[in-house]
Amino acid sequence: MELYIHIPFCVQKCLYCDFLSFPASEDVRQRYVKKLEEELSACAGRPEIREKKVVSVFIGGGTPSILSESQICGLMETVYDSFAVAHNAEITIEANPGTCSRELLAAWRRSGINRLSLGLQSMQDKELAVLGRIHSAKSFLETFYLAREWGFDNINVDLMSALPGQTEADWEETLVKTAELCPEHISAYSLIIEPGTPYYGKYGEQREDLDRYGEYDEIPARRRRRYEGQLLLPGEETERAMYRHTRTVLSGYGYERYEISNYARPGRECIHNEGYWTGADYLGTGLGASSMTDGKRFSVTRRMDEYLDFDREAFARGRQYADSSVLSRREQMEEFMFLGLRLVRGVRNGDFYRRFGVSLEDIYGARIDKYVKEGLMAVRRENGDWRYALTEQGLDISNYVMAGFLQ
């Protein structure tokens, strides 16, 4: 099982961010951490959880690095006390450049955290300003070197392409400067314009039109007029070129793309995230966190006032879950496919059979044949099994392909 711990706090909300995260007072943070500890130990006591070995822990946010040394140490203490954490578990914390002091890094090391995920997004300060980030490229470098100094030998850096006004050259600069630092892992996402964010108000119309027409010169003038004078999001071809280029540049530095947006040096793939794509059980704790165990999906309330009112008893009974649903067998199969296909290596029919007791080809054979003919999927033999994976073109339009696996 994997364990996710959500820290919904940040110094200041980024303009594109739709995560459950907000600035809060020290007092709220302290009360929250106490509740989180109660939730962790209460969850661990549930019979179906108790038996499961924890292979990875991910402290995400928000900005978990906003918590003090003692708060993080306390949390990790609770995790070790409550769960059966494997001795070689991957334990990641997300951190914002500029919020990690020497003391904090030291405390993380002491509490067993062995992987760091740094939200850089861009090596250009002008882009960081456009995104509403609070750090500079320089403060990132300081944090990065400091982390190395303190012995973090497994670091991920988050990058973001397809930013408003970004050119291919801009993106390449960020890529190269990052790769030069040799982090073990790079997540390179293209910007998603999420409803409810300031970015949606500003770039939502552009996004919608680009999704429909692909390029600006295809958009009728009367629609284009609506966002005159604004920074423009890259068109589809540019975005695609950026995506292709990412792989080319990073492979030159020894990174392999193993998921749609994730690149790693050999053996440094993120164990925790791979779990999501291969259908591992995961327990999410903290505000708004999602879980998936034994075919059941549930998520914690998104309301802080509610969360802070639960006691240990309530947590033990699962009162913190705002919704839950049991996935049908069919839905589990669908998720096996559309999550598994995010991985570049794709899905294996042997795994499917072991999990569902029927052959993958019986269920999806016709669909796969169609996609193979369209050049969107490829088949290969592997140790007596068949592997099905998206081709380069299939990756480009993965939503289209994945939708085809839904009933």
Binding site: Y4, S190, R222, M292, E374, D396, N399, Y400
Partner: protein, 604 residues
């Protein structure tokens, strides 16, 4: 009480421009004549179809009988006949008027006279009705009753200085209206002993009683057992029941004699046998000639209606049959489209009528429909002398067989404040209008008269009129006849395949412009596929416009972790669901609403 004294009957209607308060006044009259208690009142008794209330217009003529005790101490029977308020139903209006002896003209004291007011007043005067005006909404701060009264006198020539100044909403001065009905509207004149002569002004189908015929007895008497004949359709029947209209119910009585308004039933199965405007007479003792004015109503606008789900074809047929029981002007016949499969070619009185039927099919019968572009009835004169009435563009003969074509023309009256006259003239010009004349109604308002091809006004003319006059223009038209015109069939090719359901007939001079806009619109509607899709407009095999739907190159969700999975699933499900609402033409999926694109070409 078998015999009713004719001098105590008043048969009248209320005429008004839309929203000037006709239905509200009707409600007050019904309420104040005391037939109904307030408790029984629905908000608007006359408009009893759910749909009508929502649209705020009266679709089908109905009638109600109330009893009023006047200041002279006598009791009077009021037959209030409601009339539809839309130009699509002009003929029905004229028949309802013919059933009356007088009319109340309601004018909004803030808005003044509108195009529809005029059209209806003239229609009423044509039927020799005595019309008296009423100024409504005097309680509004913007009301100018003096100005509007003067306008009525100037423009229509009706004495309006002493017109009741009322608020139908609050009931203010409605009593005066009741008195004027008694004093200003003449009692019917007719001979109860003469041969039967009764005018059908509406009918509806009831599953127990069969067709219920609404009629005004002009001469003679009709009672249970009378053997009647409809003079135009020739249908015969034995009367089972006669009666009059309570509010929302039928109240049987012994007989209807000259001057009375009521209903009859005679186990008639089909409203087509009892056409509005026809004359009912006694088979044994027929009248010498029918009442004037009967005309067979013919649909003016046609379109294809297809079930979104092909398996629902029989359901659509059943639903249309049921609607037709109550609506003799609805026409339909089966047709087949390569693109849309099995469906029906349907004829309507106008676009509003089409909208209403479509909405009822979707709402009351739960059908999901695909509608093709509405068109008018063209006359095709073939070289071999044959003339065909074309309602479906796909049936247009080969151009080599066509001598010439004709299209329907209407004469239109548009009333508009003077500042917008220029804009409206430009609009009419764009729509191939022929200017007939202009009159100033008052210093600030003009009445424009134009001849316009019907196919230029059925789609969005009304909307264009409203937007170019900031809502101030009003509009009325009637069919004038047919005129030779240069018309062509515009075909649309999607991925090089002709899509029959997208073809339409268009004036040759507008073909390029409309073809171009059609391609642009379809480019917006058709989602991108894995391959590039050319969209072409063609006339007689010659391509005149083209757009291209670019191939889909990128459709990825960059991020998907634990918390995103349910959201991601929903996103994919939506994508999948969207595909189900598409029509497959060759290897291209076209959304159903694209078939209505031609209606939206002028949106900007």
């Amino acid at each position: 009480m078998a015999i009713v004294d004719q001098s105590k009957i008043r048969n009248f209607c209320i005429i008004a421009h839309i929203d000037h308060g006709k239905s509200t006044l009707a409600d007050r009259i019904i309420e104040m004549t005391g037939l109904l208690t307030s408790r029984e009142m629905q908000a608007q008794v006359l408009d009893n179809m759910e749909l009508e209330r929502e649209r705020g217009i009266t679709i089908k003529a109905q009638a109600v009988r109330t009893v009023y005790k006047a200041r002279d101490g006598e009791e009077y029977i009021f037959n209030l006949i409601d009339t539809p308020g839309h130009v699509d139903f002009n003929y029905e209006v004229s028949r309802s008027l013919a059933a009356c002896d007088g009319a109340i003209l309601v004018v909004d004291a803030a808005q003044g006279i509108e195009a529809q007011t005029l059209a209806n007043v003239y229609l009423a005067l044509d039927h020799d009705l005595d019309v008296f005006p009423v100024l409504n909404k005097v309680d509004l701060p913007s009301a100018e009753p003096d100005r509007v009264a003067a306008e009525i006198e100037d423009v229509i020539g009706l004495e309006a200085a002493d017109a009741p100044r009322i608020s139908a909403k609050t009931g203010l001065n409605v009593e005066e209206v009741l008195e004027e009905i008694v004093t200003k509207i003449p009692a019917p004149k007719g001979d109860p002993d003469a041969p039967l002569q009764a005018l059908i002004f509406d009918s509806l189908y009831d599953s127990y009683k069969g067709v219920i015929v609404f009629c005004r007895v002009k001469n003679g008497t009709i009672r249970k057992g009378t053997q009647v004949r409809m003079m135009a359709t020739g249908a015969t029947a034995d009367v089972v029941e006669v009666g009059y209209f309570g509010a929302g119910q039928f109240i049987p009585c012994e007989e209807l004699s000259a001057g009375m308004v009521g209903y009859m039933t005679a186990s008639i199965k089909n409203v087509r046998d009892t056409m509005v405007g026809d004359t009912i007479t006694d088979r044994e003792n027929p009248c010498a000639e029918p009442l004037p004015g009967y005309k067979k109503v013919t649909p003016m606008v046609y379109c294809g209606l297809y079930p979104a789900d092909g398996a629902k074809y029989p359901d659509l047929r059943d639903a249309l049959e049921k609607l037709q029981l109550n609506d003799a002007s609805l026409f339909f016949e089966p047709e087949t489209s390569i693109a849309l499969g099995f469906g029906f070619r349907c004829g309507f009185l106008g676009l509003l009528h089409l909208d209403i039927i479509e909405e009822r099919l979707e709402r009351e019968y739960n059908l999901d429909l695909v509608t093709t572009a509405p068109g008018v009835v063209y006359r095709v004169h073939k070289t071999n002398g044959e003339v065909i009435e074309l309602t479906n563009p796909s049936n247009l003969p080969d151009p080599s067989e066509i001598e010439y074509m004709e299209e329907p023309i209407v004469s239109a009256e548009i009333m508009v404040t003077t500042e917008f006259v220029g804009a409206i003239m430009t609009l009419c010009q764009e729509r191939r209008g022929v200017y007939l004349g202009m009159e100033y109604i008052e210093a600030s308002r003009a009445l424009l008269r134009y001849e316009l091809p019907l196919n230029e006004i059925i789609y969005d003319f009304f909307d264009a009129l409203k937007s170019r006059s900031r809502g101030y223009a009003s509009f009325d038209y009637e069919l004038k006849g047919y005129q030779q015109s240069k018309l062509v069939k515009l075909d649309i090719l999607v991925n090089r395949e002709e899509v029959d359901a997208l073809s339409f007939i268009v004036f040759e001079g507008s073909a390029y412009e409309r073809g171009r806009k059609m391609c642009e619109k379809l480019k917006e509607e058709i989602p991108r596929h894995l391959f590039e899709i050319p969209i072409q407009a063609a006339v007689g095999g010659k391509i005149i416009a083209r757009e291209t739907v670019k191939a889909m190159r990128k459709d990825v969700l960059a991020k998907c972790y634990g918390g995103d999975i349910s959201r991601k699933r929903k996103l994919l499900e939506k994508q999948k669901e969207g595909k189900k609402r598409m029509r497959q033409i060759g290897n291209v999926e076209i959304p159903q609403k694209a078939f209505m694109s031609v209606l939206k070409l002028d949106e900007e």
